[in-house]
């Protein structure tokens, strides 16, 4: 079974620029999560989707972050404009209706 795929793996941008991350969950997994992991900390939830609907986006900085999951499969997370404090690893995870979560390898974002 293929795991959660994410791209790109690394991204370096200047502050105030825009960036987008892509996630392809495990086939058949209805629930998709985006987490932000700052170096030295545990992952923190940004947004949770159930199929193509948002379940929880209470910790998503909506003035600059947006996410969508069209057709209930792939998802994109966008940051516009980026700030220095957005430097982190962005992890995507998926689960079969809230069971065990499987994580992708993450995208490491560096904002300079």
């Amino acid at each position: 079974e293929a795991g959660v795929a994410q791209s790109p793996r690394y991204k370096i941008i200047e502050k105030r620029q825009s960036v987008a991350f892509w996630c392809n969950p495990i086939s058949g997994h209805a629930t998709l999560y985006w987490y932000q992991q700052i170096l030295g900390q545990g992952p923190k939830l940004l947004i949770q989707f159930q199929n193509n609907g948002v379940v929880d986006d209470s910790q998503l900085p909506k003035d600059r972050f947006s996410a969508e999951r069209l057709k209930g499969v792939d998802s994109t997370l966008k940051i516009q404009p980026a700030k220095l404090e957005d430097s982190a690893v962005y992890l995507c995870a998926s689960s079969f209706y809230g069971a065990e979560q499987y994580f992708g390898p993450g995208t490491r974002l560096t904002v300079t």
């Binding site: 030295g40 900390q41 545990g42 992952p43 690893v89 995870a93 069971a99 065990e100 979560q101 390898p105």
Partner: protein
């Protein structure tokens, strides 16, 4: 790959010894707990889980203990191997089905000396 947990507490053990990693949680409503292992450059990997109606659960070389009275969780790794070197996170969620997103602890780095 990038290094996970540069400033995390570190547990250093000798190969073959048993390791105990501890975690305190704060949400008394949490009903489902998971331990994850994260190697450098990779996403967290599920190790073992436990529901709040249990106080102990065993897997292959790993045991999780839950003490809800003091909100404490521990992960025991038997006969620690060099491949166990990683950062370990406990995570919690309200709801025994685990349908809510996880709240992660701050992590502990395990270093296994050969």
């Amino acid at each position: 790959g990038e290094s996970v947990g540069l400033h995390l507490p570190t547990l250093s053990v000798q190969e073959g010894d048993n390791s105990i990693i501890n975690c305190a949680y704060s949400n008394s409503a949490s009903d489902y707990f998971i331990w994850y292992k994260q190697e450098s450059g990779k996403g967290p990997q599920f190790i073992i889980d436990i529901r709040s109606n249990m106080d102990k659960r065993q897997g292959q070389r790993v045991t999780v203990l839950l003490n809800k009275t003091v909100k404490h969780l521990s992960l025991q790794i038997a006969a620690t191997q060099p491949g166990d070197s990683a950062v370990y996170f406990c995570a919690e969620t309200p709801g025994a089905t685990g349908r809510r997103a996880l709240t992660f602890g701050s992590g502990t780095r395990l270093q296994v000396q050969p």
